[in-house]
Every structure is written in structure tokens, then in C-alpha cells.
């Protein structure tokens, strides 16, 4: 069978709001589809979500598979797996992408296991390229390079799925870029009817309480982050002041979160948010690999640290060796003077 070259994106939505990562994946898929000369398909499931396909097409989809059913209102592993599997088996897309969110990390391995295909976790980059299997002496053309950190961020692995379709990957939030909505884009919508079995309902959701993200680290131009070198809340307030003056957001290393200086939503790094702002200021942050994994692609990095040997300086564009309790007020003062 000749491969079709279509890329599918699983659209995660809750209460009719599409997850950012799904829009980011549509944006990335357009780029990949251009290289593969395939189409971008979106799989949208839910209850009363018929208003969403327009937004999905504007974000980059050519074709939307729309499954609406009261049983799909809240995400549950088994009904969603059944739906996705049936459609995958029918169409065998070339690539299947999903956000590495709690939903994606629950659903993707289940689908991959049932479909008998390879799955790469938590990718931070996707590319198209060729792969040579030396043992088989065989060259595979135009595979999906699934690029991901592992070993606690200490290595970057490029993984391929040469023989199974779809090539599946879950992708970290915030690393791909959504396209600006294009009202001119046209696409088609196909309604699909899910077929469930009794065993798909072994699990029931009794209650679900999700907070909307109140921190918008991903699309802010400036992140001012504090770490274990920040001694108390009074010092941490300096970071808030600086972020306000710069029109940015406050971030933190895990040490600052663990010390209770700020909520976990602000954590940057491997187990926090990945950011790529125009300017990243790291104050009292040593630069552990797990932290750098979330910020080292920032456009410019300023590091403030009392220890001239701190590893953070190796990724910094501007090194300030000094005590943050002195340097931050200087920055604040200089900015205030500018504003006048």
C-alpha cells in the first residue's frame, strides 16, 4: 500500500476551549505537510463542539473529523481510544500528533499499544528526514524525526518509527508555534459517528475541577525568574516589580517553588513550562540542566548570580556577578529612570 502522507492532530478541548498545544500542533503540521505534500487532518471529539471546526481550519487544518456524543463530553481513556482507533484503522494516516498534556499522555500510549505502532514521548522538535537502518541496509525516505530530551534532560534523542503507521508522537506544550488564524483558509468537515462497547464505560468521572491557567508564561516577551538564591518574599517581590516594569511575567526554578515563594504554575523547566521569550532574566538560579531545558532557547538571557562559576552563566548572554538584592533594585531604578 502506498503511504498517504496525511498528518493528523488530536484536538484537545475542554468546555469548548481548544488547548493551546493543539493549535501549536496544527501550525507545525502545516509546515510538515508542506514538505510531505500531504494534508492536515484534525480529530475533534466532544459533546456540542460543532462550533469549533471553523477555528481549527483557520489554525491550519484541511479536514476536520468531528465526533460528537454525550459520552465524549469529558475525556475518558476508553471511549476516546475506541474512537481514535476506529478512525486510524480506517484511514491509516502517516503521522499522528497529540499534545503531551495529562490527556495526551493518557490517550496516546493506549492508542499506540492497541494499534501496534511506535510512539515517541514528549517531543520538543519534529522534522522530516531520511533514516538508514544499517542492519537491514535499508533507507527510509521522509520519516518523521521525533526529537525529545530524556535522561532528565541530559540527552536529546532523535527517534523514528520506520515500519509502523501512523508515526505517533506526543509533543510538549509551548515549543511549537500556532499560526495566526487565517479567515481565508478553507477546509472540510466530516461528521463521524462513534461506536462504543459496554466495556468502554468501566470508568466514570465523578467530578473534575480544572483551574484555567492564570499564568501566561508561554507568550510573554520577558520572563523574570527567581531561584534558590532568593531569600524571602520581600526579595521575590523585586522580581514581580521588575516583571511589571518590563511588561513580562514572573518565572521560577523548582527551588523557589519548593521554598514556597511562588506557585508551581510559574516553574520553568523540564517539569514546568518551556519558554522562549525575547528576554529571560535568571536571578539566583544555578542553571541545573532541568531548569535550562525550559529556557535555554530564549533569545537573550541575563543571569545574576553571586557565584561566578554558576552553570547558568554558560548559557547567558549577559553575566552579572553580584547579589540579586543589589542588582535587581539597580535594574528597577534604571528602568524607572527610562520611563520618566
Amino acid at each position: 500500500m502506498a503511504d498517504n502522507r496525511n498528518i493528523w492532530v488530536f484536538i484537545e478541548q475542554e468546555d469548548g476551549r481548544i488547548a493551546d498545544v493543539s493549535l501549536e500542533l496544527l501550525g507545525k503540521s502545516r509546515e510538515l505537510a508542506g514538505q510531505l505534500q500531504g494534508q492536515v487532518w484534525a480529530l475533534l471529539a466532544g459533546h456540542q463542539v460543532g462550533q469549533l471546526p471553523g477555528q481549527i481550519i483557520q489554525a491550519g487544518a484541511d479536514h476536520v473529523l468531528l465526533a460528537e456524543d454525550p459520552e465524549l463530553q469529558l475525556y475518558r481513556t476508553l471511549p476516546y481510544t475506541r474512537l481514535a482507533l476506529d478512525l486510524i484503522e480506517k484511514h491509516r494516516p502517516y503521522i499522528f500528533l497529540i499534545g503531551a498534556t495529562p490527556v495526551g499522555r493518557d490517550l496516546a500510549p493506549r492508542i499506540a499499544s492497541a494499534a501496534g505502532v511506535g510512539l515517541t514521548a514528549d517531543c520538543t522538535d519534529l522534522q522530516i528526514g531520511d533514516y538508514t537502518n544499517k542492519k537491514e541496509r535499508r533507507v527510509y525516505k521522509d520519516l518523521l524525526y521525533q526529537i525529545r530530551p530524556a535522561f532528565g534532560g541530559n540527552i536529546i534523542a532523535t527517534i523514528v518509527n520506520p515500519n509502523t503507521r501512523p508515526q505517533m508522537a506526543s509533543v510538549r506544550e509551548g515549543v511549537m508555534h500556532a499560526l495566526p488564524p487565517d479567515p481565508q483558509r478553507i477546509g472540510t468537515v466530516e461528521t463521524v459517528t462513534p461506536h462504543f462497547e459496554e466495556s468502554d464505560f468501566a470508568l466514570q468521572v465523578l467530578s473534575r475541577e480544572m483551574r484555567p491557567p492564570t499564568v501566561h508564561l508561554k507568550d510573554t516577551p520577558v520572563v523574570v525568574a527567581g531561584g534558590g538564591g532568593v531569600r524571602d518574599t520581600a526579595e521575590f517581590q523585586l522580581l514581580h516589580d521588575l516583571a511589571n516594569l518590563m511588561g513580562g511575567e514572573v518565572g521560577a526554578s523548582r527551588a523557589a517553588v519548593d521554598a514556597g515563594l511562588i506557585s508551581r504554575q510559574h516553574q520553568i523547566g523540564q517539569t514546568g513550562t518551556t519558554v522562549r521569550p525575547r528576554l529571560y532574566i535568571a536571578a539566583g538560579i544555578s542553571g541545573a540542566i532541568q531548569h535550562r531545558a525550559g529556557m535555554n532557547e530564549s533569545n537573550k538571557i541575563i543571569a545574576i548570580n553571586t557565584d561566578p562559576e554558576a552553570p547558568i552563566f554558560q548559557v547567558a548572554h549577559y553575566k552579572i556577578v553580584g547579589d540579586l538584592s543589589e542588582v535587581l533594585p539597580l535594574l528597577i531604578r534604571a528602568l524607572r529612570a527610562k520611563a520618566k
Binding site: 481513556t77 501496534g116 505502532v117 511506535g118 510512539l119 470508568l203 475541577e209 539597580l330 535594574l331
Partner: protein, 297 residues
């Protein structure tokens, strides 16, 4: 009502202690410098299973797939309270991705027989995929509850579990048997008890017997030691591909649909950097530069 629990644990290099000396100058990793530990979230999974046993009775059986050295984490699990441990070890298992790993684990669970609950850690700190739990569940045809933080109730063939995410919680009710993947906020794993540690010090797989005998010559010969271990429940069984009646095409490297194309080690890139003096003038000049370059606007 007693519950039969199975806990899947993995031996991992302690990637949390990666520091300068572990990363060599050319950016490769000196793995031998990393201590091998029981994956942290698997301790949370074990603790949850032990609490079920404390409250309702039953058994806790541990399974790990790994090289012979992984027997160490099984002794650790015994010292923390597990009833029974099994090592899955065979060259044919090597090089497995999560599909082949979960297939192997599924075969082993099927061989253990009847069970009510399977516990996994949410994620291992080396492979970092969090895929094995859901894939084992799928292969066993079980419902799964990922991100499990606490068991709210357990009765009449049903479990109610609270799941925890960064941005919220969910409470679900599920029929048994089912599989849970446990997060690190679930509990504080109990430490190994000294009594249990001493009692299980001799627990060993067959290939460890010569070394054990060198340490304890009073047992006389390997056969005598082996039969002592058998009698005292200290012989750790090792199951191979043949024991699992597994389809060999689905094991190890050959059974893995994913292939590693390239691995690169993260090296600190020395960015082109400027030293800024921590003085009012230095900082003022920095702000001016950032504004001029449109980085601050």
C-alpha cells in the same frame, strides 16, 4: 476483602544526581558514575499498594524487567514490605521500547495469574516516557487510572481514585481489576524496616549464588545454599522469554517499533556573553543596550 496487587518497578540510573563529574568533557555521560536506584514514583506506587494491604489484607507482588543487577531493587522492595518479587531477565528483552517492555510485562502479569490491582509509577526518570503503564493496561484489556494520587474508596469490586494534575483534580470510579499509575504527591513511601532488611539480605537470584556463597561459606555448597533460600522464601525467581511463553517477535529490540536514529548529549553552550558590572553605570548601560536592540520595548 483482601486484594491481590501487582506493582511494576524499574531500576533506573539516578538522573537527579547528574552533575559535572558525570558529564565528561566531550559531553558524553559516564553512566557508571550514576547510582542505580528504584525509580522514585515506583516507590509511591509500592506504598499505595502496601497501604491497600495494610487496610484490607491481601498480597503485594513486585515485577521488574531488567538485567540481573535489577535484583537489587527487588531486595529493596522486600525490605519495604513486598510479599513476593519476580525478575524478568533475558537477553531477548534487551533494547525494548515501551511497546516491547509493556508486552513483556503483560506476559509476566498473565503468568502470575489472578489479581485485582496493578500499580505503576507515573513515569521513569531515565526513559521519561510515562507510556509503559497505559500500554500494559491496554495489553491486559484493563481500564487505567493515570496520575493517581489517592484511593478514596475501595469496595464491592469498585475503586474510587483522585487524580492530580498541575491544574486541577479529577475523581473517577472504576471497576476492578484496573491499573493505576501513581504520582509523587500520593504519599511518603515508608522506609525499609531494619528487621525486613536483615531478613531479606540473602534474597538472591540463581546467578548471585556463587558470590553469596563466598560471603557465607558456612552454607557449604551452592546446592545447599539454593535449597536454604528456597525453603525460606528467599530465592528470587527469574523468568525468561521461554517462561513467559512470549511471542519472541514482540520482545526486545526486534519487537520495538521505535528506533533511535541519533542521540546527542546536552553540552552547555557557552553563549557569546558579555560581563556586566554590578554597578549603577553598568546596569544603566545594559538597559540602554536592550532598548536599542528592541529587546525591551
Amino acid at each position: 476483602m483482601p486484594y491481590r496487587s501487582i506493582v511494576l518497578v524499574k531500576q533506573v540510573p539516578d538522573t537527579r544526581s547528574i552533575r559535572g563529574e558525570v558529564m565528561t568533557a566531550d559531553g558524553t555521560m559516564n553512566r557508571a558514575a550514576l547510582p542505580a536506584i528504584l525509580n522514585p514514583e515506583d516507590l509511591n506506587a509500592l506504598e499505595m499498594a502496601l497501604q491497600v494491604r495494610d487496610q484490607y489484607g491481601g498480597t503485594v507482588t513486585i515485577i521488574t524487567m531488567g538485567p540481573p543487577q535489577a535484583a537489587t531493587v527487588l531486595r529493596e522492595a522486600l525490605a519495604r514490605g513486598a510479599d513476593k518479587v519476580i525478575l524478568l531477565s533475558d537477553r531477548k528483552f534487551a533494547g525494548a521500547d515501551t511497546q516491547a517492555t509493556s508486552y513483556t510485562l503483560k506476559c509476566a502479569i498473565a503468568r502470575v495469574g489472578e489479581f485485582d490491582l496493578v500499580f505503576c509509577g507515573r513515569q521513569a526518570i531515565d526513559g521519561d516516557t510515562a507510556q509503559v503503564g497505559p500500554q500494559v493496561a491496554q495489553k491486559l484489556g484493563l481500564p487505567q487510572i493515570t496520575y493517581a494520587e489517592s484511593i478514596v474508596s475501595l469496595e464491592a469490586g469498585e475503586i474510587i481514585v483522585q487524580r492530580a494534575f498541575d491544574l486541577g483534580t479529577e475523581v473517577v470510579k472504576c471497576k476492578l481489576p484496573c491499573l493505576l499509575t501513581v504520582v509523587d504527591s500520593a504519599n511518603r513511601p515508608r522506609p525499609a524496616s531494619a528487621r525486613r532488611r536483615i531478613r531479606n539480605k540473602l534474597a538472591a537470584i540463581p546467578s548471585e549464588i556463587p558470590a553469596l556463597l563466598a560471603q557465607w561459606p558456612e552454607f557449604g555448597d551452592p546446592a545447599a545454599l539454593q535449597s536454604y533460600l528456597q525453603k525460606n522464601g528467599l530465592a528470587i525467581p527469574v523468568w525468561t522469554a521461554a517462561d513467559l511463553a512470549a511471542d519472541e517477535a514482540l520482545l526486545g529490540l526486534g519487537g520495538s517499533p521505535t528506533q533511535v536514529h541519533k542521540v546527542s548529549y546536552v553540552v552547555l553552550e557557552a553563549a557569546e556573553s558579555k560581563e556586566i558590572p554590578a554597578t549603577p553605570e553598568g546596569i544603566q548601560a545594559l538597559i540602554d543596550e536592550l532598548v536599542q536592540e528592541y529587546i525591551l520595548g
